[in-house]
Amino acid sequence: MRLLSWPLVTQLLLAPLVVASARASEYNDYSENLLLKSLPGNSILASFRFVSNGTFDSHHSVFPRSLAQILQQSQTKELHLKFTLGRWDAEQWGRQVWDGRTAGGTGVELWAWVEAADDSEADARWTTLNNALSGLFCASLNFIDSTRTIRPVMSFQPAGHHSPERLERLHLLHGTLPREPVCTENLTPFLKLLPCKGKAGISSLLDGHRLFDAQWQSMSIDVMPVCEENGKCQLQMEQTVDMVLDVERSMGKKDSLVPKPPPIEQLSCDQDKPYAGGDSCFPLSGVTDLSWSLSEMFGRPIRGSCPLAVVPTEEATHVCVNIAEQRAIFVSQGSEERKKSPELRCFVLHGRGPNFVIENLDFDIVLPELSPSTNILLTPPPVYASRSLTGHGQERGGIQAVLNNPSSNSTVEFVYLESLPWFMKPYLHTLSVTVSGKDDGNVVQDIYYRPALDRKRGTQLEVRLRVPPGETVLLNYEFDKAVLRYTEYPPDANRGFDIAPAIISILDPTSQKSTFSIRTTSLLLSLPTPDFSMPYNVIILTSTVMALAFGSIFNILVRRFVGADEVIGGGLVSKIRGHIIAFVTERRRAGGNKPKTE
């Protein structure tokens, strides 16, 4: 075996794959690319995108068969599944990549268009879909029951191509699990859906330790039918992984996995502070652009290119880096640079060495340190949104959403969607929408409200709003907190209950279709809790009071009154006393004689 050199073996093994990749290019089956964008504060946005096309019936498709079967079984025509952790800091990082389409709310979010004749059939298929996906992605998707499912009316429109007849039979269902901890067990099945399974190509960078250490990360799967002009349709699956990595934190892992504070001489301190100098330090961030490289950020370099990925054309490339023009960039060999603009440098990985032999070389990017720090121009999102709980105590509370339109000249129109659990009982009559502190009737365009039913379904609130340029809208409402049965509380009842993030869908002014979406953070709602150790005590004490009432009332009702001096016989004590008195009188009467024996 040692006769063959390693590169030769790889070459032999990969030969059929090269043919396949040539065929793949014809059918445009699979493509992948990575965008690295520098964000202020020494953060890097890494956005991985994998697109596979295929059909249900094909045995040679890159479209994963496991998912295709689930979609077929549940008659799902379009599917969107998001696993998200953390908060996208729009104030600092600007608008999200891909217009926010690939980012979900904290936890797991799933929505799908299911083909069914009526609502009950749609519900049954939705349950099938949830259970199957739950198994496929090792997530608690099977807990999306009727209380966590809503049917949004204004917020979502199908993104795929559906025939008009089919559109009429499609039912949109939407479910969220804000509490779901997204972790490695969800990443592994996600990577298995990729043709190169995370072994080669850009997906080889995806490692649970780095992904789930990110400040914000989102994994998303979008499946939809895509039709060409000639009427040929196929399923398109777009998988994305977006994450924001803190360079300083990631590079710190290079030396040791346990985070350690940097020594004082390495800290850059703000010398303008009055207490500066000596042992006090107000740390400055963003003074310099720290140096980083792919292999240090992700723990490994890109391991060659995925042979199944489409050979990139002039437009399509494998890796793009969006950094300031001044920053230098070094790349390892086996790639070809295509500069699209001064700030966007892209690379094609062909994996060929100096002699044009396919060696599947590792690919790495190194950026040296640069001072002072540089920033690329960030565009603000269409709306800045934040949402918080108001009030105190465990009886009732309120929700306040702050929605700001940063644009200086254009009005923004969007739908604000809330999906609340049933134990949060909002009062719609308390809903108030104010612009700059005063009521404005023109802000609210439309409201769709479906109240919750105890233990059956949650609340769905969709509000369509128009926010004038530069204005901030406050949306407030009050709610009551329900007390649950003690078996309905989770084991850590006092931690609180997670409330799903609100979804803000920016509408296109002409088509009224959603063009951008934003999620607020999830909320933690504390409910009043009973004493979980008390069931027997409560049953006993309450029953005692009831028995006391029953007993005392019926005791009075059924017994007759007599004077105390008229009692004959009476109770045991009076009987005994009577016997003793009788005995004593008998003795006295006998005058010391022997007592009679009777």
Partner: protein, 418 residues
């Protein structure tokens, strides 16, 4: 109505208006108190129901509003000015007081065709009875918190007032309305029939036996209730949804918001497999007193009604202070038997204790976090126990009063029950 009663009513109206006007935040503060507002009577929930109803949404297709459809129809006709709402609630209390004055004036509480109390002279005059209701802090707080139990109480008192005046049909019509509003007054039908029958003139009694009288009134009641149901069906746009969302909630207790009663914590802590069984037991427990009281206290049906209201203020699914206020106001008609009661000090002090500590313990549980649910639960137990002792003690006193009428020589002597 004499001049004194009139003065009492005017004073009560002024007091309530002053409370509404002088403390503008008081109504909303009291509305949020669990002791005064329950999920089936809360004014805030009524507002939510009205909001949904006026915006074309069915308020019964949701978990917030559980009140009768006629209330919706009534409140939509009112102007949305809060003062009008205050006046409606004050008017309701005035009507209740007027009914109490009528009941007290009729003297049914001291003398019925079968029994005349020997302590007749010590009963309170009508104005005092009205004052005992109107100036009871529980009644005032209930009026200001604006739960819809206020209307139920008014209708129940109207029904009794009609009953003591011998207008049986009017009485059961009012009772049908009360049952329509909050279900449990349906238990008052048998004593109400007896009350109305007893006040009939002797001539009429000969014409009409108790059996046929009861049959007529029961069918009137049934038709009235069915009519109200049909009317509600029309109001809610031809849907029977409201039945499950109003009476279903009374019966099945889906909303476990704390209140002064015994149900909420019991069903929070109940094991799922026994929930249905205990729901049946608790509902039957309310009905079980009916036959016993009607038979034993046949001579005084008004007292049967009073006692049943007392029992349901403890053991109904969503009781509030307003129910207890109604019981206490009817009990004030029986001032003459108070000397025969044995535990008045215990009851008074326990009620005061629960009234003062209840809000404190609720605060400790919900807001301060330094107590747990057991604190408030313990207070509801004490409260229920106090009212229970009061109810049974009142029964004892009334029965002793009856017995002393048979045997006047036993007055003031020690007695026992065998």
């Amino acid at each position: 109505m004499d001049r004194r009663s009139f003065t009492v009513i005017i004073a009560a109206v002024v007091l309530r208006l002053a409370m509404f006007m002088a403390f503008p935040s008081l109504p909303d503060l009291l509305t949020n108190r669990v002791e005064l507002s329950t999920p089936v009577t809360s004014f805030k929930r009524l507002q939510e129901g009205l909001f949904l109803y006026t915006h074309g949404l069915s308020p019964y297709d949701g978990g917030v509003f559980h009140q009768a459809p006629l209330l919706l129809a009534f409140f939509t006709t009112l102007p949305s000015n809060p003062i009008v709402v205050y006046l409606v609630y004050i008017l309701s209390d005035v009507l209740s007081a007027y009914s109490l004055i009528q009941i007290a004036t009729s003297g049914v509480s001291v003398s019925t065709p079968y029994h005349t109390s020997s302590r007749k002279s010590s009963a309170w005059p009508p104005w005092a009875v009205a004052a005992a209701f109107l100036f009871n802090p529980f009644s005032i707080a209930t009026c200001i918190a604006r739960p819809t139990i206020v209307f139920t109480n008014t209708v129940i008192l109207t029904a009794i007032a009609k009953g003591v005046q011998g207008q049986g049909v009017a009485a059961v019509l009012a009772l049908a309305m009360a049952s329509y509003l909050s279900l449990y007054p349906v238990l008052l039908l048998p004593p109400m029939v007896l009350l109305a029958y007893d006040t009939l003139p002797a001539v009429k009694k000969k014409e009409c036996s108790l059996g046929s009288f009861a049959a007529v009134l029961t069918s009137v009641f049934t038709f009235a209730a069915a009519g109200l149901g049909a009317l509600s069906w029309g109001i809610t746009g031809g849907s029977w949804e409201f039945l499950a969302s109003t009476y279903g909630v009374h019966l099945l207790l889906p909303d476990l918001t704390p209140n002064v009663g015994l149900w909420w914590y019991f069903f929070i802590e109940m094991f799922d497999s026994f929930r249905e069984f205990f729901l049946c037991v608790f509902q039957l427990h309310l009905a079980v007193y009916l036959a016993g009281l009607c038979l034993r206290l046949r001579k005084q049906p008004l007292f049967v009604i009073t006692t049943l209201l007392g029992i349901s203020s403890i053991f109904k699914s969503y009781p509030s202070i307003g129910d207890t206020a109604l019981y206490l106001s009817l009990l004030s008609l029986y001032r003459h038997i108070f000397p025969l009661m044995r535990y008045t000090f215990f009851v008074t002090s326990t009620l005061l204790y629960a009234t003062l500590l209840g809000p404190a313990f609720y605060h400790l549980w919900i807001y301060a976090g330094s107590g747990n649910a057991n604190f408030f639960y313990a207070i509801t137990l004490v409260w229920s126990l106090a009212v229970t002792v009061l109810v049974s003690d009142a029964i004892f006193a009334v029965l002793r009063d009856e017995w002393e009428t048979e045997r006047p020589e036993m007055k003031g002597k020690e007695i026992v029950q065998i």
